[in-house]
């Protein structure tokens, strides 16, 4: 493969990626690029394959087909821990706090084993800084289990950030939050980008996504049906059609514009 | 060659009983994800039950009639055990149910040893023998195999044709969904646990008709049940029966090639290897 100047600027390249579960093609021949420093939004109806695409990118699943290139390295089929080592972190749609550990320990674990591997002492410094950043600082000595949903989402975010990633995958970090919490979280996302971290974000909360994304791609039944700026996406008839099956979502989409 | 046939036939007959015992273990696992480490002592209780009701020092009933009583007691015992030791830890980590069922194991062995000591018992009982061509089969073993098949058939009819059986399968599939459909899941779980221990007790009772035993004897069959269950796929009753036959056949045939003391080595190595390469069992799909 020839490395052009264009490709130097691309942090994540997904080429022709498919993932099959038995008879179900959850992700089907998806191709797109994520340029460095950008926020790329990913939308699509429930069950469209968004989370599965994340899982294939970070190595939870091996792609049935296709190639994933991250920072110039082919990572298709790598294990999640190796992918993290290269500087790619993620949050989970269904939060996965380490319940019996404190918030601080959760975030420290992220720092210890992340892209830069740190000693406990260094990890604590990073963890404190990151918790300050996402607003969990006061709760650092509580058990993760005792947090509420919004705080658990922040914890996911803090843990991922503590690994000092180049690229952050955010899976519905706004879902289930109230408007104030959403506004705060959007602030955090934008601040992360300011630090030079590229972001790939799945979101159903449309107006928020419209505001933060540089570009948006749309999945439906595993296929990439549209790609463009937020304004282009809102006006794309294919996207509106895809959401018609789900009136609530369609409404959200409309009110977002 | 004839010797080989005879050992194979003998092994297969006992294999049916092994399969029955393993089915008890796998039924419980399939329904509630619990590995019953009290399985062995319950098999031993089945042996002592038949000994008590049919032995010359006990009531002196016909052993097969005694087996019916043992089955009922086994069912009741399991349901009580479910409420005492299992129900509360069903949603706890795996270790909890492993240990709580093992605590019942310790109680049975402890009390059993105190009551019966560990000296071997023998049910003096014979049904003569059956000559099939060159092969001579003990009547009690043929009978045991037949009963094992019969019990399996009844179990299947129960699980697939009756209301409570269907309810149990619904609970096994998805406890919450079953509960929403109005199935009393706790009762069904208790019932399936009871059925599992009942199968273990029956298997023990059948074994008592042809082998001597003591209170610790169940342990061997418990370990065999693990091997079988893994052969057939955890949670799969048909697999358990077939696994039982495979194990029985192996135990029949292997000693004609190498010292009999190597049989358990092969069994346990096979067990671990299958767990590693095909944790869903030899027959398991998925």
């Amino acid at each position: 493969m020839t490395t052009s100047r264009m490709q130097d600027n691309i942090i994540l390249q997904v080429q022709n990626v498919s993932k099959r579960f038995g008879g179900l093609l959850a992700v089907s021949e998806v191709t797109f690029d994520l340029p460095k420093g950008q926020i790329l939004g990913l939308i699509g109806p429930n069950g469209a394959g968004k989370t599965t695409l994340f899982n294939v990118i970070n190595g939870v699943y091996t792609p049935t087909e296709g190639q994933i290139t991250f920072r110039g390295t082919d990572i298709s089929g790598w294990k999640p821990y190796d992918v993290v080592g290269l500087g790619l972190a993620r949050t989970h749609q269904i939060v996965r706090p380490l319940n019996d550990l404190t918030v601080l320990e959760n975030v420290m674990a992220g720092a210890c084993y992340g892209h830069e591997s740190h000693s406990l002492t260094e990890a604590e410094v990073i963890a404190l800084e990151v918790m300050e950043f996402v607003g969990l600082h006061e709760r650092r000595n509580l058990l993760a289990a005792s947090l509420n949903v919004a705080q658990k989402k922040r914890l996911e975010m803090a843990r991922a950030l503590a690994s000092r990633p180049y690229l952050l995958l955010l899976d519905e970090v706004l879902a289930g939050l109230n408007p104030t919490e959403i506004a705060e979280m959007v602030e955090v996302v934008l601040k992360i980008r300011e630090q030079g971290v590229s972001i790939f974000i799945i979101e159903h909360v449309m107006h928020a996504l419209m505001n933060v994304s540089d570009r948006i791609i749309v999945l439906d039944y595993g296929q990439l049906i549209a790609e463009g700026t937020p304004d282009e996406i809102v006006d794309n008839p294919k996207v509106i059609e895809a959401y018609l099956g789900d009136p609530a979502l369609a409404e959200k989409l409309m009110s977002g514009s | 060659m004839e010797q080989l046939f005879a050992s194979l036939a003998d092994g297969l007959l006992i294999g049916f009983v092994y399969g029955l015992a393993a089915m008890g273990l796998t039924l419980i696992f399939g329904v509630m994800d619990v590995i019953n480490l009290g399985h062995g002592p319950i098999i031993a209780l089945g042996m002592f039950g038949v000994f008590f009701f049919a032995g010359s020092t006990g009531w002196g009933l016909n052993p097969y009639l005694a087996l019916v009583i043992v089955a009922v007691l086994g069912l009741i015992f399991g349901m009580i055990m479910y409420f005492v030791a299992v129900h509360r830890v069903l949603n706890a980590p795996h270790l909890s149910s492993l240990l709580s069922t093992f605590s019942v194991n310790m109680m049975i062995i402890g009390v059993g040893t105190a009551l019966f000591t560990t000296s071997p018992r023998n049910l003096e009982f014979s049904l003569g023998s059956l000559q099939l061509g060159p092969v001579n089969l003990l009547g009690t073993r043929v009978m045991a195999a037949l009963i094992a098949v019969l019990v399996t058939a009844v179990l299947y009819v129960f699980l697939y044709r009756t209301q409570p059986g269907k309810a149990i399968r619904a609970v096994a599939n998805n406890r919450d969904a079953a509960e929403l459909m109005g199935i009393p899941s706790t009762k069904m779980l208790a019932l399936s646990f009871g059925l599992g221990t009942m199968l273990a007790a029956i298997a023990g009772g059948l074994i008592a008709t042809f082998f001597s035993f003591n209170i610790l004897a169940g342990g061997v069959y418990e370990l065999k049940s693990f091997v079988i269950v893994v052969l057939g796929g955890l949670g799969n009753p048909t697999g358990a029966l077939i696994g039982g036959l495979i194990l029985g056949a192996m135990e029949g045939v292997v000693p004609t090639f190498m010292p009999v003391s190597w049989v358990p080595v092969i069994e346990f190595v096979l067990f671990v290897v299958i767990l590693l390469v095909r944790p869903t069992g030899l027959l398991g799909g998925r």
């Binding site: 970070n58 939870v60 294990k79 999640p80 821990y81 190796d82 993290v84 080592g85 972190a89 993620r90 989970h92 996965r96 706090p97 380490l98 319940n99 019996d100 550990l101 420290m108 674990a109 992220g110 210890c112 084993y113 992340g114 406990l120 002492t121 990890a123 | 696992f29 590995i35 005492v84 509360r88 830890v89 706890a92 795996h94 270790l95 492993l98 240990l99 709580s100 093992f102 605590s103 019942v104 310790m106 109680m107 062995i109 402890g110 009390v111 040893t113 105190a114 370990l223 693990f226 893994v230 955890l234 003391s261 190597w262 080595v265 346990f268 067990f271 671990v272 767990l275 590693l276 944790p279």
Partner: protein, 322 residues
Amino acid sequence: MKSWKYPALWLTVGVVLAGGLIPVITGSKIMRESMFLILMAVTMASSLNILLGYAGYVSFGHIVFFGLGGYVGFYLIAEQGWNLIPAALAGGLASGVLALLLGIALLRLRGAYFALATIGINEAMRTFINNFNLFGGPIGMELNFIVYQDYGGAANMQWLTYWLMFGVTIIAVLMSYGVKFSRFGLGLMSIREDEDAAMAMGIHTPKVKTMAYILSAILPGIIGVIFFFRNSSVQPAGAFRLHRSIEMIVMVMLGGQGTVQGPLVGAALYEALRSYLLTSPLFKDLQLAIAGVLLLLIILFVPSGVIGWLRHRFKGLWRVLE
């Protein structure tokens, strides 16, 4: 990790030192024998705790490392004329290597499947040793008493092995503490809480788990050698008793899994209870049944064990109880 965490360490080591020195100070042989068993139990339980309590993997056949290590060391002493100390180290090494090989293979399994596999390994090993003529098959091996001459006679040997056990126990407790408050320990506990999340956080789970398995196997291997050397004989049934594995788990649960002091407290309580039951005429025969009732009560009502319960109940004690 932080200075305020040290009181727990000093307390733990202090208790082991004090307990271990009682027989030395009093010179009582009876006390020495029971303390030997307690120290052994503490080492076994603390080792198991690294896998069970920190990493959350239930090993039902952990006694296999005690048995195999014991066998290897005993063979080297009895048949090859090795000295106890290098033989004990060799026993630990053998167990560590076994754990490495098993870890690579078995630790892919999770939950009940792993627990079952460890039972299978224990039984496979026991039945194999039963057939393994080099190690004496079903009869096992015996030590000629003359060997004890090299250690200043049988009486002296018993004090020597006591001191060795004492030393190993202190190592076990330090290791238990060191692992818990290390980067490695944090990785283990992340795996215990959510293995998939741990992987997504960058923890190389196969490597970390295998390391934990090895660490939890070495000391049991070493004390296996000390134990069987002291006993002057070894047999398959005694070396691989599945029951002993479960007793180890009970000790860890009783004291509090995942804590440093839990296995210490659990092992001491369990051994004390057992020796009381064994010597009381009323309970002698029911010893096992009573232990079973106790186990059930712990699981149902105090699943976090003594230390876990105390920590939960008295938050002020967090600094001293770990």
